[in-house]
Amino acid sequence: MSELSATVMNLPRRDAQDKLRGRTKYTNDRIRPDMLHAVLLRSTVPAGRIRKLDVSAALRCPGVRAVATGADAPGLYGIGIADHPLLAIDTIRYHGEPIAVIAAETEKQARAALAAIVLEVEPLAPVFTMAEALQPAARLVHEGWRGYEVITEGGARAGNIAWEAKSSRGDVDAAFARPDIRIVESSFTVGRQSHVPFEPRVAIGSWEDGRAHIQTSTQVPWTVRNVTGRVMQLPPGRVRVTVPPVGGGFGLKFDASIEPITALLARMTGRTVVLENTRQEEMATCLCRENAEIRIRSAVTPEGYIAGREAVVLMDCGAYGGEQVFLTTMTAHTLGGNYKVGAMRLVSRAVYTNTPPNGAFRACNGVYNTFALERHTDEICDALGFDPMEFRKQNVLGDGDLGATGQVFEADVLGPMLDRMEALRASTGTSEAKADGRLYGIATTVGTWFVFVGPSAATVNLNADGSATLVTSGVEIGSGTMVQSLPQIVAGQLGLAPDQVIVREADTDAAGLDVGVGGGRTTVSIGAASIAACAEVREKLLRTAGEMLQTRPEDLVLRDGRVEITGRPGSGMSIPAVVAHAQATTGPITGSGAFTARNTPAMSGCAMGHFIDALDIPVFVVHEAEVAVDPDTGHVEVLAYRVVQDVGRALNPRAILGQIQGGVVQGLGYALHEEVTLTVDGRIAQDDFETYRLPLAQDVIPVAADLYEGAPSMGPLGTKGAGEVPILAVGAAIGCAVARAIGKPVQQLPLTPPRVLRLLHEREPPPEFPHIAPGWAANTLG
C-alpha cells in the first residue's frame, strides 16, 4: 500500500530546534510588561462558610485595577455534574480553593493587595477521607447536591457520592455459589500522583470586539471555551481559545481551572491579564491522579477458570466531581479488562471529600486498577497453585471474549503479545545476577486500555506553492502528534513531503470541535478527520487535473508533489500547476473532514452510569519488571524493564519508543517514590521538588520495547494511540515483582523504602475498608 509506505517513517520533530535553542514561546513566555498580573486569594482552611468577603480596600491599593469574587462569575461547571464555581461562592471546600482574584500592574502590587481583602470564614468540620465521607451521618461536602445541573444523565448520585457507575454481566451470585470454586479476595489502596508538567497552568486573557480571547497552556481548548462561557454566563461562541506550545500536560490540563478568570478580569479592566500558578500553588492544587481503594473477589475453579468476579472501587474526587465522575466509567474496562470472566459485576464511586480536587492523569484509573487486578491475579495463582504466566496465557482476553459490559473483543492480541514478551526476554536475557545478594523478583503483567475516540474536525487547504495547511483544534503537549503523526498522515494522503504540511496551532475560532488531547486519541481522531479532509482535497485535485490532462481522475495518482498518470512516474503535472488552474476556474482547493466513534455496543443492561459503554479501540500492553530489594534498607532497584505494546500501526516507531521510555519512567515514579499525602489541615504536603520525589536520571534504566502491530483498529491506517498506555502496567509489574522478591503481599503503592521495610518485617497494616460492605450490592445506590 503506497499511501502507507509514504506515511510510516521516523520523522524528526519540527519543533525540536526552537525548543533546543530556547526560542519556543510557551504561554508563560508570552508575558509582556503591559499586561496586568492576577493573583488568587486562596483558602487556608479545608472547609468553611464565608461570612464576610469585602474587597473594597484591596481595590484602593496601589496598582490594583480589578478585584473579582464568585459573585462576578456565578455559573457552575463540571464534567458530569455542574458542581464547581470558578471562585468559591459562600462555601469553601478545600485548602487552596480560590476565593477572590486581584489584577494589578505588577505581580508584587497584586500580592501586596491580598492583605487588604477582608475575609471571615466560619470553619466547618472537614471530611478528609472517603471512609469519613461514606459514614451515614457524614457532613455533606455539597449540601445542595440535589440542585446541581446534571450535564450527562445516567449516573446514580447521593450525598457525598458524586457519581456511581456499575457494570454487571451474568449471574455472579451463581458463580460464587458453585461448589467447585475457591474464592480469593484482595484489598488495595493507592495514593495520589502529581503530574508536574514543567509549565504550570497559566493563561493570558484579553477582551477583543466584545469577546474573550484566552491564550493558555491546555489540552482542551474547547473545554476552556465552554467552561468560560458557562461561568461568565456568555454564549460559548463569545470565547476564543488559542494554544501555544504546551510545556507538558499528562492529563493535568484536561480540564479548565484558572483560565476563565483571566477572561473575567480582561472584561472588567479592558486590559490583557496573565495568571500563572506558582510551583507551590500548582502542586498544592494539582488535579492529581486520585487516591483509590479497591476490593476485588474472584471465584476460580481448580482448572483455573474465573467463573465470577466482583469489585468495589472508591475514587476520591476531592472537593468537586471533575474528571473522576467520567473516570468511574473506566473501571469496567481496566479492572474489568485483561481476562475472560464468566460473570462479573463492578461498581465504582466518585466520592466527595474536603481535599483538593483530583483529575485526569495519563491512563487515569487504569494505572491503579491494573495494579490491583494483576496483584489479585498473582494472589489467585498463589492460593490455587497456578503458574502466573501459564494462568495469564490461559485466561487473557481473546477473539470473541466478552468484556465487563458485554462488549465482544475481536482477535487474539494479548496471547500473542505474551509470546512476544517471552521472545523479547530471550533476546535481552535476564538480570538476576545484578541483584548481587539482594532479594530478586520478576513479574510479567498485562493491561487493557482504550482510546476514547470522541469528535474531531479538520480542514485542509491546498496552497498554490504545493504545500497544505492543516487546521484543527489539536494541541502539541510534547507527545509529537501535531509535529509528527499528523503531518505524516496528511503528506501520505496527498503525495507530499511532511515538511510541506503546515500545522496550524489550536484556535477555536479557526477549527471545528475537538474534545482534546487525552486517552491517546489525537492521532486516531484528528488523524481520521484529516484523512477525510484530504479525501475531499484529492477528489478536487484529481478532477481538475483530469480536465487539464484529458484523463479520467481514477487513472491519476498523487506522488512526490505531482499528479501523475498511474504507472507512469514523472508524467502529468506538478500540484502547484493544478492548484493554480483550480484557483482560476473553480476556486481554491480545500477539504473538510470529521470523525467520531461508531459506538461499539455493550450488552443491553450491562452498563449503568457510564459515559461510554464499550471500547471503540482497545489497547493492550504486556509489561515485565525485574527488581532487587535491599532487605536492610527497603530500597527497590529496577534491574530491567521490558514492554510489548499494542500500537495497531506504528506511524513513527522511534517517536513511540520515546513515549514508552518516558511513560514507563513516570510509572516507576508512581510505583516507587512519588507520594502525595495530606497534612492534618487538609493540605497537600508535597508542594515542591524537595518533598515530591520525581525520577532522576540515575533512578532509571533503558526500557526494552517491542511494538506489536496488526491488532484491529478503526484508527486511520490501523493506528492506535501510543503515548497514553506506556504508564498503564508499571505499578502492576513493579508491585508484582516486589511481592515475589520479598515473599509478602503488596497491597499499596508507592513502594517507598520505609513501606517495603515494614512489609518485610510484617509491620505494614493491610488495608482495611470498614466503609466497604461485605455484600457487593450494599455498596451500590441500587
Partner: protein, 165 residues
C-alpha cells in the same frame, strides 16, 4: 545597587535590588525566555546558564554575584542563524525532545560537562544530570545522545563544542 556584567557577549547594566535572582532579570527585563523558571529552588535545572563558563542555576544566583562576570544563556550558546551546538544538533537528530521545557537547561548543564569531561562514562553522564529533571523523556535517550557525541568527538580527536562561546 548597580551591577555590570556581560550578557551573551554584550555589556549589561542592572539597577535595583542586588538580591534579585538572575533568572528574573533574564526573563522579565531581557526577555530571554529560553531560561525557564520551573521550580525556582535549584532542583530542576531548567534555568541553568553559564556564569564565567560554569553551569549554575540562575534562580539561586542573586544578581549582585554576577558583577563583572560573563553570563551566557541558551540564546547565546548558538545565536542567530549560527549552527547549533553539537549537543543541540545531536538531540534534534535523535528525536530526544518532547515538551522541551527542560532542554535549554539540560543543554547548558551538559555542554559545560562534556567540555570538561571528554572521557565521561555513561554513569558519569547520569551523575552529571542529577540537577536536571525531565518529566517527559525518561532520560535514557538524552544519556545515549551525550555518550554518542563524546564517542564521536573522541574518534575525531576533538572536543564536543570546541568552539564554545
Amino acid at each position: 545597587m548597580t551591577v555590570t556584567f556581560q550578557l551573551n557577549g554584550e555589556d549589561c547594566r542592572f539597577h535595583g535590588d542586588p538580591m534579585t535572582p538572575l533568572v528574573d532579570i533574564l526573563r522579565q527585563e531581557r526577555f530571554l525566555t529560553g531560561t525557564k523558571a520551573v521550580c525556582r529552588e535549584g532542583f530542576c535545572g531548567a534555568c541553568t546558564v553559564h556564569v564565567d563558563d560554569e553551569a549554575v542555576p540562575s534562580c539561586l544566583k542573586p544578581i549582585a554575584l554576577v558583577q563583572g562576570c560573563a553570563v551566557t544563556t541558551i540564546e547565546g550558546l548558538s545565536s542567530g542563524n549560527h549552527p547549533l551546538h553539537p549537543l543541540q544538533a545531536a538531540f534534534e537528530a535523535a528525536d530526544a525532545v518532547q515538551c522541551g521545557m527542560c532542554f535549554p537547561g539540560m543543554v547548558m548543564s551538559l555542554s559545560a560537562f562534556v567540555r570538561d569531561n571528554p572521557h565521561a562514562s555513561r554513569p558519569e553522564i547520569k551523575a552529571a544530570m542529577v540537577g536536571n529533571i525531565c518529566r517527559c523523556t525518561g532520560y535514557e535517550r538524552i544519556v545515549d545522545t551525550v555518550a554518542d557525541c563524546l564517542d564521536q568527538a573522541r574518534k575525531a580527536g576533538q572536543l564536543v563544542g570546541g568552539v564554545h562561546v
